[in-house]
Every structure is written in structure tokens, then in C-alpha cells.
């Protein structure tokens, strides 16, 4: 696990089309051809927080935006604008806990396969030592 992000804050916005208040990823810690690690400091004023905790839709949105950052990193390196990505399918998604606002998420993504613009990724979201969510996500990136 990398300690320092290779991209954070405003720089991450170059990889996703979302803008505040729906930005749900704020750091990229590592990226390779078939894996990546992202992060998010959960802002208590985040629109996906309820009763001091990040809600299920917020966790899914964080996972989806993390997948988009991973999928679009190549475009970023080439200086191209972010492409639109769509969640095509969530598979075997398990949410173990709702993390508290103010804490930080670290998310690991592994690319399982790509075909016809569709990417299948394994996603694991953690908050410190605690598992938050895991599953598979199918993302379609519009060219």
C-alpha cells in the first residue's frame, strides 16, 4: 500500500467528469496496467453522508469513480479530457459497514478483463483495518 498519493485533490478532477458536490474520490495512490489504488477523505458535509456515516450509495459512487480514475488514467497521461463512464453492472457486492464521516477510505481495483469498451474490475474498499465493501463492477467508458 502506497503512503503518498501520486495524484490528489484538484489533479484527480482531471480524470473524472464529476464536479463538487458529487466528487467521491480525491486521491490516486498507485496505478499499473491491471490494478490501482484510490482514496477518499469522507467530508462530513458530503451529500452522501447520513447520520454521520457514508451511505451505501456513497460507497458505490466512490467505487465507481475510483474505477473511472483507473480506466481513464491513460487518457490523463496523454493530456486528453476525461471520458464519460457508466456503471453497467454491480456483481456480488457486499457492504460490510458504513464508514464514519471524517475517516478515510482506501480502495483497491484489479482489472479482470475488457471487451467491447466494457471493463470488469474487482473492487475492495477499506477504512483503516476494516473492510467496507467488496465486489465486482462492470464499467462502460464512452469513447
Amino acid at each position: 500500500m502506497s503512503a503518498e498519493p501520486i495524484l490528489k485533490g484538484e489533479e484527480v478532477l482531471k480524470l473524472i467528469p464529476q464536479r463538487p458536490p458529487v466528487v467521491m474520490v480525491d486521491a490516486l495512490y498507485s496505478v499499473t496496467v491491471d490494478s490501482a489504488e484510490t482514496g477518499l477523505d469522507i467530508d462530513p458535509s458530503c451529500i452522501f453522508c447520513r447520520n454521520g456515516k457514508l451511505s451505501e450509495p456513497g460507497i458505490v459512487e466512490h467505487a465507481a469513480q475510483s474505477a473511472a480514475v483507473f480506466a481513464d488514467y491513460d487518457s490523463y497521461v496523454k493530456g486528453m479530457p476525461p471520458r464519460l463512464g457508466f456503471i453497467a453492472e454491480l456483481k456480488n457486492l457486499e457492504i460490510a459497514l458504513l464508514p464514519e464521516a471524517g475517516k478515510s477510505l482506501r480502495t483497491s481495483l484489479s482489472l479482470l478483463g475488457t471487451a467491447m469498451g466494457m471493463s470488469l474490475m474487482k473492487v475492495e474498499v477499506r477504512c483503516g483495518d476494516d473492510a467496507v465493501a467488496k465486489g465486482q463492477m462492470k464499467i462502460f467508458i464512452k469513447e
Binding site: 479482470l112 478483463g113 475488457t114 471487451a115 467491447m116 466494457m118 471493463s119 470488469l120 462492470k138
Partner: protein, 82 residues
């Protein structure tokens, strides 16, 4: 790995992933209708093959495959040239 062993392994993996009886996997059977593959689920087959056999396959190549016999051939060739 012998081709017969490889076919057995592919069939077992597909049966589990797509929840289809192994007996329907014959070399002549149409792959798309048997597995109910569409543009959304094609990537599941690619991921299954890559994770089980440690090979990289092109999504466009697999989209052109019509029957299981052609799929077995493609995977066998890729595993032999690893």
C-alpha cells in the same frame, strides 16, 4: 496441459460462471445463445478465460467466435504459446 483436460477445465468454469449445465457445451454449439452472451456479459467470458488460464485475449477476437470449438482452439493456442 492436454487439450482434453483444458476443455474440461473451460467447461467447468463456464458452467459455474454462467449457471449452465456442462452437457450443453459441445464444439458445434453456438456460444452466444448457449451462454446468453450480449455486449454486457462478453467481458465476463474474457475475465473467466484470463483468470483461469493466465493468458490475455482480445475482446474483439472473442466476439468473433461462433461456437465452443473455436473458443477451445483459441485458448489452446494461447496457452501453448505462453
Amino acid at each position: 496441459m492436454e487439450k482434453a483436460e483444458l476443455i474440461q477445465k473451460i467447461n467447468a468454469a463456464m458452467a459455474e460462471e454462467f449457471e449452465v449445465e456442462e452437457s450443453v457445451f459441445t464444439p458445434e454449439a453456438d456460444i452466444k445463445s448457449t451462454l446468453e452472451l450480449d455486449s454486457l456479459s462478453l467481458v465476463d467470458l474474457v475475465a473467466l478465460v484470463e483468470s483461469n488460464f493466465g493468458i490475455k485475449i482480445n475482446g474483439t477476437d472473442i466476439a468473433k467466435i461462433r461456437n465452443f470449438g473455436a473458443l477451445y482452439d483459441l485458448i489452446y493456442e494461447k496457452t501453448q504459446s505462453k
